[in-house]
């Protein structure tokens, strides 16, 4: 059974189709990139997969996550899947984190909830140890200081590491990364990409990587889907799509990216 099976997913706002007839599968440990520019529907797809679409935006078709149909299922029933079946890392950690809560407590919260649900509640000492080990896993040093910090006291890269630690807290099978490095500096981006790569491998998670940036996705996934105005115009293995794109739109994206690559190589 696939970890994630999306069949004929469409998303509508009123009569307007924002995503049309999207289908794909994701197996355990597999990495898929969802690429598109603004308005392509890539973020809506990630929200539809986790049942987080805002009210008024209506999905149709079918999304099976860990064997559970998502579309049409009440929120309360989806709660047990969120965090464990799939967890999301968003673009902007400053809005994803609670500005009024110390970072350590924000990471402890999903840990504690998961432990209670498993019937093995953690005492505060055990919880602190778990928070520490997550901070180590996302390569955040100075655990005590970081755990006591509020989000605004950390750098953008540190905040994104915290958001990743929270996503890992419930040991998800699928990590959805929605433009996780777009708000970061280039050098920080490289560190976060390397971190995600390592975590996904170490924990054998599946990865759904959403980005507008072809080169960012290129080295982190094995398959990609190119979205344009809600429709998948191209899908396949990364090497295949990059070397033999079938759709004009994919070609124009690749040409644009290659132009900047060539500029860096100083080969006019």
């Amino acid at each position: 059974m696939s970890l994630l099976k999306v069949e004929n997913l469409s998303v509508h706002a009123g009569s307007k189709a924002l995503v049309s007839n999207l289908s794909f599968n994701l197996e355990k440990g597999e990495r898929l990139g969802l690429i598109g520019e603004s308005g392509s529907g890539k973020s809506l797809t990630s929200l539809a997969v986790t049942g987080l679409l805002p009210s008024g935006i209506i999905p149709t078709g079918s999304v099976h996550l860990a064997g559970q149909e998502i579309i049409g299922t009440p929120d309360r029933q989806l709660d047990r899947l969120r965090g464990t079946a799939a967890a999301i890392v968003f673009q902007e950690p400053l809005t994803a984190l609670d500005p009024l809560m110390r970072v350590g407590r924000q990471i402890a919260e999903p840990l504690a909830r998961r432990a209670r649900r498993d019937g093995k509640p953690l005492d505060s000492h055990a919880l602190a140890l778990n928070v520490n080990s997550l901070l180590t896993e996302v390569a955040l040093g100075e655990h005590e200081r970081v755990a006591r910090s509020y989000p605004h006291e950390l750098s953008g890269g540190q905040r994104q590491r915290v958001a990743i630690a929270m996503a890992l807290a419930c040991r998800p099978d699928l990590l959805i990364a929605d433009e996780p490095t777009t708000a970061l500096d280039v050098t920080t981006q490289a560190e976060i990409l390397a971190l995600l790569d390592r975590l996904v491998r170490d924990r054998n998670m599946a990865l759904l990587f959403i980005s507008h940036d072809l080169p960012v996705v290129a080295n982190n996934v094995s398959k990609i889907i190119v979205l344009r105005q809600g429709e998948a115009v191209e899908a396949g293995a990364v090497e295949e799509v990059f070397t033999r794109p079938r759709h004009d739109y994919t070609r124009s994206l690749l040409t644009a990216a290659r132009q900047f690559d060539a500029a860096l190589e100083a080969t006019p």
């Binding site: 520019e37 603004s38 750098s155 953008g156 500096d185 280039v186 050098t187 920080t188 981006q189 490289a190 990409l193 507008h212 940036d213 072809l214 080169p215 960012v216 290129a218 080295n219 094995s222 990364v238 090497e239 990059f242 124009s252 994206l253 690749l254 644009a256 990216a257 290659r258 132009q259 900047f260 690559d261 500029a263 860096l264 190589e265 100083a266």
Partner: protein, 253 residues
């Protein structure tokens, strides 16, 4: 004579933490130069100083040989006409309640530039590749790339000799980015361009010369081609190694 000359400029908002530390570089007439730095490098502060919105604590900035004097309103009016700026986010830099015509004509009015404004606005629109009939419309009717063209039209309408672009393509989609870079390259044949960006790939595509800023200091400066080929400073090396490329890693491909 350099168009802009920045010499030994230092600046701090609070005494304990310097933002710029003895920064020196120049912009020659007609030159396109890139200023590359990440968050906290001081690039935005440097731009504020270049716009006369703040004064250096020490060191000096001169335009066309004359020192920049933020307090001298006659000088500043002259300077504003010569040096214009394009910001990162075209969604917040265009007044949503003004027509495109009023937005682009605004610098002509505020700088009291004589002449046929309607004609100047039409020419500016033409330069940025927008049809004349957009003038009566409003910003929300345009895409991000079109809005950035409008912002560029507003910047070039007074006929500046220097265009300061602050992350002007960073908020745009890849394919749009390519087209706006092409537009800036075309415009740079008639004016100097200081292109401020964290994105060294875009700078490489556009600028012959580059200045690399880290934590308020210039760590490396020179011909873009040379710096790309053999970056000397460890920070430049790290920056270049960090840029994601389309080329797949050997391990995967």
């Amino acid at each position: 004579m350099s168009l802009i000359s920045v010499s030994d400029v230092s600046f701090a908002y609070t005494a304990s933490r310097p933002i710029l530390d003895k920064v020196s570089f120049s912009i020659e007439p007609g030159e396109t130069i890139g200023l590359v730095g990440e968050s906290g490098s001081g690039k935005t502060t440097l731009l504020r100083l270049l716009l006369g919105l703040a004064r250096p604590d020490s060191g000096s900035i001169s335009f066309d040989g004359a020192p920049l004097e933020p307090g001298d309103s006659a000088f500043m009016r002259h300077y504003r006409r010569q040096a214009q700026v394009v910001f990162q986010d075209p969604y917040s830099s265009l007044d949503p309640r003004q027509t495109i015509y009023s937005i682009i004509a605004e610098p002509l009015k505020s700088l009291k530039i004589p002449g046929n404004h309607a004609k100047l606005v039409a020419e500016a629109l033409d330069h940025v590749g927008l049809p004349a009939d957009v003038a009566s419309r409003y910003p929300h009717q345009f895409s991000g790339g079109q809005r950035q063209r409008i912002a560029i039209a507003r910047a070039i309408v007074p006929g500046p000799r220097l265009l300061l672009a602050d992350e002007a393509v960073s908020a745009l989609d890849l394919t749009t980015k390519v087209r706006i870079v092409e537009l800036l390259a075309r415009l740079s044949s008639t004016m100097s361009l200081l292109f401020v960006s964290h994105d060294i790939a875009v700078v490489a595509a556009l600028c012959k010369r580059v200045v690399i800023l880290e934590k308020g200091r210039i760590v490396e400066a020179g011909e873009t081609a040379n710096i790309l080929k053999s970056p000397q400073h460890p920070y430049t090396q790290r920056l270049l190694a960090s840029v994601p490329r389309l080329t797949l890693n050997e391990a995967q491909s």
